[in-house]
């Protein structure tokens, strides 16, 4: 199971690199899809079907919208002038990465092992969730009962985003 996870991670990283490097915008969008659908499989393997359903639906919708946007535009990437700046930025990236790994190496030793998180609050939710809320799906009982404030905020954010989009893209009352 762990080996499968690592294989999926490598596939996702390769898809992301192809998406950044490819010249054709359509193939870049499709290789972004590899990252999203790989993430869906990772969620399924880690036993989070709630997240997997949301991820697969959002990923499909995003891909459809992005492909529709790419088909209407030029399909070619804007050419960037290559110069010595690329070399300098590459060297800077490597230095920053080495420093970051050096610092993170000490921090990772303190973290709990993979799959054994140290969360005191979640143990209470897991034990008392069904009794306190009556909902058999623990995820729903957390997001709509224990942490319902967050969900209310999320739904309101989505509503506000749609209002903003409709206001920006409106036809009536626009100055010529």
């Amino acid at each position: 199971m762990f080996a499968l996870l690592i294989l999926l991670m490598i596939l996702m990283i390769m898809g992301a690199i192809v998406a950044v490097q490819s010249k054709d915008l359509l193939s870049a969008v499709i290789s972004m899809g590899i990252v999203g659908f790989g993430l869906t499989l990772v969620f399924l393997i880690l036993q989070a079907p709630d997240l997997a359903i949301v991820q697969i639906a959002v990923e499909t919708l995003t891909l459809v919208i992005l492909i529709a946007a790419v088909m209407k535009t030029t399909m070619k990437e804007i050419k960037v002038r290559k110069s010595t700046v690329v070399i300098y930025s590459g060297i800077a990236t490597v230095i920053v990465l080495i420093i970051l790994l050096f610092i993170l190496g000490d921090t990772f030793k303190e973290l709990p092992a993979f799959g054994y998180p140290e969360l005191r609050m979640s143990e209470y939710y897991i034990e008392q969730g069904l009794e306190k809320t009556g909902a058999a799906n623990l995820v729903t009982s957390v997001i709509l009962d224990f942490r319902a404030y967050d969900t209310l905020g999320e739904a309101t954010v989505l509503f506000t985003a749609v209002m903003g989009i409709l206001a920006v893209l409106r036809r009536k009352g626009r100055k010529e």
Partner: protein
């Protein structure tokens, strides 16, 4: 915008109903099986977006659909706020589970949780539909 070929139209007409009912199942059984308002709402809106993309859009018809989507979206978020405030009006705290908890694992259980799921499902599906319609109605000429 024109639609696609006859094959795509027929297949999408057959599939859209199945996708729609699967989304409703995810919303209604959100408190028992994986899923809930957000996931089910996205699946429901997927059925409508499939039909819109396959059949193309007609300006006059789509404006009516957009008005209905806006109304449903606003009423979904309003319903969610009403459910959350009823507890406050009864003199206790926000998000009080004022209905009975019922038997666990039954469809009519968990009090307000399924009602909240249905409200979120209505809101999310209508919101995504209206976003896609708004983007499809934009033309190249209307920049300024």
């Amino acid at each position: 915008m024109k639609g696609m070929t006859e094959i795509v139209k027929t297949i999408s007409r057959l599939l859209a109903g199945l996708i729609f009912f699967y989304g409703i199942y995810i919303v209604v059984f959100g408190h028992l099986t994986p899923g809930g308002g957000f996931a089910g709402g996205i699946v429901i809106s997927g059925a409508f977006i499939l039909l819109i993309i396959a059949n193309g859009i007609d300006e006059e018809k789509i404006n009516r659909v957009r008005e209905k989507a806006g109304f449903l979206e606003s009423s979904g978020i309003f319903l969610f706020w009403v459910i959350s405030t009823i507890g406050l009006c009864m003199g206790t705290f926000f998000f009080l589970n004022f209905l009975g908890k019922g038997k666990p694992l039954n469809i009519f259980s968990a009090g307000t949780v399924p009602l909240c799921n249905i409200a979120i499902g209505i809101e999310v599906s209508a919101a995504l539909c209206s976003i896609v319609i708004a983007f499809m109605l934009v033309k190249k000429g209307d920049k300024k």
